[in-house]
Each structure stands twice: as C-alpha cells, then as structure tokens.
C-alpha cells in the first residue's frame, strides 16, 4: 500500500521525447487508468513505474521513496502483462510462486501464499496445470495471481484484457475492480479502451502524444473534457465536433443558430455528444440522415449537416431511415454543449 508520485516525468528515446512531462499524485489505494490511443506513451509511462524503462528526467516516488534508480524487484510492485507472460514450462502454482522462490521464502510459506491467492481467484483446481492447458480468462487470472501473491504496494496493469473476447473482458473488468477494492492496493492500469477507463477508474489520465491531456474522475472527463482531444477520445460514439462562430447571445453553425452557453465570441470548436441530441421539430440542427445503425436500446443515425459535415446522433429506441435521406431536426440543451478554442483545443468556459 503506497502512494505514487510522478514529478514532471519525461522520457526520451534518443532525440525524440515520448513523454513530455507528466505530473500526478496517486493516493493510497487509488485505481488510476491511463488511457489513450496507441503510441501516446501510456505503456512507456507504466514501464517507467515498473522500472523496465529508465526515467530521463523528473522524479518518481513510490511510497515517498525515490524510485528512479531502483531495480524492478526493489520497487515493491507487481505487473500484469498484456500477453500474461506466464512461464510456459511451469505449472500455475510454480508461476505464481516464482517471485517468492527468488526472494528465498521457505517452501511451506510459498505454498500457503499460493493457496491463498488461488482461492481468491478460484484457481485452486488449476494449480497443477501448465499455462497452455488454460483458457485465456484463466491465464489472465494466473497472471493476476502472480501479482497478488507477492502482496506488492502497487499493481501495474498493461492492457491486461485486450487479448480476451468481449464478454470475458466485461467479466474480468468487474473481477479486477472487485479484487482491487478488496485488497486496497494502489493500481495503475493502462488501456486504449475508453469503456474500460470509464468503468474502472477512480481517476483517469487521458494521454495524447506524450502529454496528459486531462486527469480526473471518469464523469468529470466525460462531462467537462478539458481539451478537444479528451472530448473526442472519451465517449462512444465519439463527439461531433463542428466549427462555430460565437456572437452576441448566440452561436452560429453556418446558418444554424444555437444558444451560446459561455458567451464566448469569435471562432470556436463546438462539441456535441451524439447521445445528448434530441429530436426537436423546431431544433436548430438539420441533419440529412444517410444510415441508421439500430443497437436495440438506441439507434445511431449517421448523416450530414447542411454544410456537408459528417454528423452522428444517438437516439433512444428504434428509428428507420427512408432511402434517399430524410431531414431530421435536432436540438440540444445548452449545458450539453462543449466549446473549445479553435487554435489550442482547450476548453472554453
């Protein structure tokens, strides 16, 4: 159990800076999800915490102890890898107990700890199997078990669910979250899946091109995205972004007149989440519907606005589209409108 502090951490590979200064205080027992597109540096950041990559600049503290130059084993961390990285020739029990064996614990104690962890993860029946005799979900559990058995103060997860099928992913997501809550171990979890980020995180870091775009609770990020990038990355389907012009008392999207929630004047980027749009015969937005994707509970409508920009709306219930494209008028509440600076992408208001 420990806090983790990132103090302006940077990473350079030769002349290219891949992490451009990340600062964060992780509280004891907190579940932090680092989310971003591939190549944004999220895995590098995690590997720096693990000690698998060196830190070029800045300071990393684990439990108030400077960890920059510690070996991975001395950092009191455990890591779950994307491909599980189970030792193929060892049984489940040996895999879980290997770290303890290296640490020189007596055999009986190792066996007891492995038993406890196995019981927690419902692996007791599988302890004698080899990894290749296990299903993906079971391997995932063994990888978790290997991490738990050492009772570390920080858990690191590197996209642990990306190799599982969709249904299992949902189940494991819950299991990991439950387990972490039960054990109360500080966790850093890397994923590219914004649904995982939303559902699991106490707080999340949205990363883009080596920078933390926003750090906050999932709902915070969803409701008040700090940047255009965070706004588009979080939420599914992703937010519609349109160029608008703020004027006195109104926001103009071409010829469409919307309320101006911030009173900002001048060119802006306007973000509208598809699920916040409501059908409204008087609504300012006119969309020519081209394609409907019924998802059961709701329907995604894809189409174009008058000026030709692509636009998506998510409406509850089932909607069908007449061939050729009807015009659908939509409205939105002012509090659901997100305004961003057109040059910097930063949130306005």
């Amino acid at each position: 159990m420990a806090t983790v502090t990132f103090d302006n951490i940077k990473k350079r590979f030769g002349p290219t800076e891949v992490i451009k200064g990340v600062s964060l205080d992780v509280a004891d027992g907190e579940f932090i999800v680092i989310v971003g597109p591939s190549g944004c540096g999220k895995s590098t950041l995690l590997r720096m915490v693990a000690g698998l990559e060196t830190i070029s600049e800045g300071e990393l503290r684990i439990g108030n102890r400077r960890a920059n130059d510690l070996e991975p084993m001395d950092r009191d961390i455990a890591m779950v890898f994307q491909n599980y990285a189970l030792y193929p020739h060892m049984s489940v029990a040996q895999n879980m107990g290997y770290g303890l064996r290296i640490a020189g614990l007596p055999k009986a104690e190792i066996a007891a700890k492995v038993q406890d962890a196995a019981k927690l993860l419902q692996l007791t029946e599988l302890l004698d199997r080899k990894p290749r005799q296990l299903s993906g979900g079971q391997r995932q559990r063994v990888a978790m078990g290997r991490a738990i058995v050492r009772a570390p103060s920080v858990f690191l997860f590197d996209e642990p669910l990306s190799n599982l099928d969709a249904k299992l992913r949902v189940q494991m997501r819950l299991e990991i979250r439950e387990l972490q809550a039960k054990l109360g171990i500080t966790s850093l979890y890397v994923t590219h899946d914004q649904v995982e980020a939303m559902t699991m995180a106490d707080r999340m870091i949205v990363m883009n091109a080596g920078r933390a775009e926003q750090i906050g609770t999932p709902l915070d990020v969803y409701e008040r995205p700090a940047t255009l990038f965070a706004a588009q990355f979080i939420g599914s389907p992703s937010m519609n972004v349109l160029e608008g012009e703020g004027r006195e008392g109104a926001l103009w999207l071409g010829a469409a007149r919307l309320p101006n929630p911030t009173g900002h004047r001048g060119p802006v980027m306007l973000g509208l989440r598809p699920e916040h749009l409501v059908p409204d015969p008087e609504g300012p937005i006119a969309m020519q519907v081209q394609l409907a994707e019924p998802l059961g509970a709701n329907t995604l409508l894809h189409g174009k606005l008058e000026a030709g920009q692509g636009f998506t709306a998510s409406l509850p219930g089932v909607h069908t589209v007449a061939h050729g494209g009807e015009i659908l008028r939509l409205g939105i509440k002012p509090e659901n409108m997100h305004l961003f600076d057109r040059a910097t992408g930063l949130r306005l208001g």
């Binding site: 693990a50 000690g51 698998l52 070996e71 991975p72 084993m73 961390i77 455990a78 890591m79 890898f81 994307q82 491909n83 990285a85 189970l86 030792y87 193929p88 020739h89 060892m90 290997y98 770290g99 290296i102 640490a103 080899k130 290749r132 290997r146 050492r150």
Partner: protein, 285 residues
C-alpha cells in the same frame, strides 16, 4: 455412400502398398552394405577372401567381436569406443554450453561491440575445421595437448551454428517473459537457468543428437593429434587397422569394429527421438 468409401479405401490401399514397396526397396539398397559388413563380422578370414562372398551370417560372431573389443588390431576397440564417447560427448556438451551462454549474452545484454561479436561468430561459420587445421594444430601442440582429451575436444567446441540457432530461438521468446522475471526479482542468470534453459529443452536435445554425431564422426582432427594408439578414436582407428604393405587385413575384426562404431550414434538418435517427438507434441509457446 458406403460403397464409395470402400472404393476410396481400396484405391488408397493400393497407393499405400506402392509407396511402401518403394520405401522397402530403398531401405534394402541402403541396408545391403551394412548387412554385408555384419555378415563379414561373423565369419572367418578365409571365408571372406574366398569368392563368392557369403551372404548369410556365420558362426564366428562371439569370437570376432570378443577379439575386436578386447584385443583389436593395434589397440582394443573398447578403449577406442571409450575415447570416441568422451570426445563426442565432450564436444556436444561443450558446444551446447558455450553456444547457449554466448547466444544468451548476444540476445539479452547490450554491450559495446555486441553486433560485431555476433558477426564475428557468424563469420566463422564459413570456415570449416580443415581450413584452420594447421594453425589449430600449432596452438594445441604449443599447449602440450597432443594425445589428450582436451586436445581432442577444445578446438571443436566453439560452434557458430549452435550459437546462431539458440540466438534465433531466444529471439522468439517474448520480451515480456524476461520482463516478468525481472519484476519477479530474478537475476539474469536466474532467468537463464529457471526460464530460458527449460524452454530450450527440446532444442538442446535436437542439437545434442546432431553434435554428438558430428563429434563421433570426426576423422581428420583425431588422426592429426593422436599418435599414441591408446588415444585413438574409433572412426580413425578403423583406418589404422588396415595393414600397411603386404600384411593381410583381419577383415572379420575390422568389420566387427565398423559395426560397433555404428552402434552409439544409433542409440543416441533412437533414445533422443522420443524427446524430439515429445517436444513436437507439447509445444510450449
């Protein structure tokens, strides 16, 4: 439906028979000289010399083999077998140890000149033993290793081929395994011993077979550096059994020696074959 299947089985049966016939014929052709050697090792000297050559084993089997094993022509075959065994096992084990560790160094450690070392090792692949045999002889003679096991083994122990093979295998081992071991607190040598070595088990077995036979069949090198008959290896020893000048060759004993020389490689291949197959069946990756 049922008829169709029978028809297919019949056609396939015929093909099967034909291929088997071809194979059996091939085996007979290859096996015939070995059979002749075996027959020659069971008859008396006059029976061999007198045409026609006998085609069925005689009654001298025990006598000839006892003579070969315990007295031989110059030196008992038993001691030559022992020398060959030590040399072949020494070369195979030495090559495996050296190539495993050097491949480990090249794949898992970053040190100055790493690539250069790899290419230097790789380059020696192009130099067969015979090319460097004179300087090697000089070195071994200088160390006073003529007529010794060290002299037989050391010059043949470095192996570019095996290093290259292990390097390729280590490159296929996911990096995450090494990282997991690091996080688990394993030192590099612990990772090598606990994870890499067990994973290379089947590769090691395969290489052992190849290298054992390579060592066993060495001819030129032992011929050069062993002058003392008690250090002769069996493959070169057979040649030494041929008489010089007008002496009569003791063919039954020479043939018995040839048959004896064939047994250990065959045993190694057959016993290791089980490991091969197990390695193939439960692939561990």
């Amino acid at each position: 439906m049922a008829r169709e299947i029978t028809g297919m089985v019949e056609r396939r049966g015929l093909g099967l028979w034909l291929t088997h016939l071809g194979m059996i014929a091939g085996v007979l052709v290859i096996f015939f000289p070995i059979w002749l050697a075996f027959v020659a090792s069971t008859v008396t000297q006059p029976e061999i010399v007198r045409p026609p050559m006998p085609l069925w084993p005689g009654d001298q089997l025990i006598e000839n083999y006892t003579a070969a094993l315990f007295s031989g022509v110059n030196v008992p075959v038993l001691s030559m077998l022992g020398n060959s065994l030590i040399m072949a096992v020494g070369i195979a084990v030495g090559k495996i140890i050296i190539s495993l560790t050097s491949a480990f160094a090249i794949v898992y450690f970053r040190f100055p000149g790493r690539n250069m070392f790899f290419w230097l090792i790789f380059l020696t692949l192009m130099l067969p033993v015979e090319v460097r045999i004179v300087p090697t002889y000089e070195v071994i003679a200088g160390f006073g290793m003529l007529n010794s096991y060290q002299g037989l083994i050391f010059p043949l122990v470095a192996s570019a081929t095996a290093t290259f093979l292990f390097r390729q295998f280590f490159l296929t081992v996911p990096d995450e395994l090494a990282e997991a071991a690091r996080v688990d607190g394993a030192s590099p040598m612990q990772f090598f011993r606990d994870i890499l070595l067990p994973m290379s088990r089947t590769n090691i077995a395969a290489l052992f077979v190849i290298l054992f036979i390579y060592g066993w069949n060495q001819y030129l090198w032992p011929l050069l550096i062993t002058t003392d008959p008690s250090m002769n290896t069996i493959v070169m020893g057979i040649r030494q059994m041929f008489p010089s000048g007008d002496d009569v060759a003791d063919w039954p004993v020479i043939m018995a020696t040839s048959i004896l020389a064939m047994i250990p490689p065959v045993v190694v291949v057959i016993s290791m074959q089980k490991l091969f197959i197990r390695g193939l069946v439960d692939s561990e990756k």
